[in-house]
Symmetry: C3
Subunit: 153 residues, 3 copies
């Protein structure tokens, strides 16, 4: 059995950003030499997610617009009545009492989920034709880490 | 260490459908001979999910009604004011510019998540009494694949 | 390769509760002797989730208030118009025909997800500085189980 660990660091210029990392994950699999197994790709922060989706800019813009309604930022005007009502009672997140303003990023992270596990077959990520892996930053402009753990043989 | 891979193909008659696959996953575990380990069950498309839930038709109908409000289709009349407001600005998904109409399926997939990892103990899926595994189709009527990867010994 | 299985049982006094279990999961990793691998932490019920988040009470209160709007209980007054509209047609979940009242817990569980996979590096959970593991009870006051499966070497 082989285990291999790799880390990635992100500091996105924008507050919110989708960064395609399929090739980085495939690179970690190749470094490990694993031919058959699984790879865990997991954000090490609670304001960033990892998802598998089509690499199509329209989907990303749709998803971000929608996430801003479902998990509304309190640092901008609510995107309509639903967003306004989904904000906490009083209009701001309790989490912000400590000086942060990223409460919405925690909730977006909960929806998107912070990790995926990918199958490895014959040394390759065993993905469908439109599946790409993305790091989803919801509170960027600061250093964030991600861990890749390969397990197999 | 043993790794074993199986694939399933679906072509559901209906656009949206929940297909119980617990026995198929258990079958792949038995083929592998693995007694202790994990099995990853992952849709290979981005418009279908995998979830673990009670095999109770009421839950499935509740969940689908609810998902249609939270991640509204643009190919049917919105299910109320919340759904109407959760549609993109202008009423249609940017993703549809390419000719698709499955933008809602991408968002439903994000909520449901496209994969689960199940524990294997003594050669059996180590599930709770009400846990069944479902393939959740949100854009059916076409061929879709799912990968099952067993890892253990 | 080593596989190790541990179970936890919960019977929370309150209907909804977040229970920190990071140390329990680390304890299971130590029992296993695994230095490099993965650990699956998975609720064995469909009305409880597992998430990785900051151990900050404000986030937990924010998340619960928000989940009650997005996946509204039918055993209490809806928390506003959005919650009212996200309830099923007719006001109650179909799932409740069997005598249960936990339909909202099934939907909350779907949003939070019932499991996480954590990396193990040098015998420790390889978590970021603010990542803690929580069992999220949405239908407490009864015995519930959780499985921890460690895989590695």
């Amino acid at each position: 059995m082989t285990a291999h660990t790799a880390y990635m660091t992100f500091r996105t210029p924008q507050r919110r950003e989708f960064v395609r990392i399929t090739d980085d994950v495939q690179g970690a699999v190749e470094e490990s030499g694993v031919q058959e197994g699984m790879v865990l790709v997991s954000a090490m922060h609670i304001t960033a997610g990892v998802w598998v989706n089509d690499d199509e800019p329209g989907i990303q813009a749709d998803a971000l617009e929608w996430l801003d309604k479902l998990a509304p930022p309190s640092w901008s005007e609510p995107a309509g009545d639903v967003a306004r009502e989904l904000l906490p009672e009083g209009g701001d997140y309790r989490h912000h009492r400590g000086g942060e303003d990223n409460g919405d990023a925690h909730l977006k992270n909960l929806l998107v989920h912070h990790q995926v596990v990918l199958p490895i077959t014959a040394g390759r990520l065993d993905l469908g034709p439109w599946q790409a892996v993305f790091y989803c930053e919801f509170d960027g402009g600061r250093d964030k880490r991600l861990v890749i753990k390969v397990l197999g043989e």
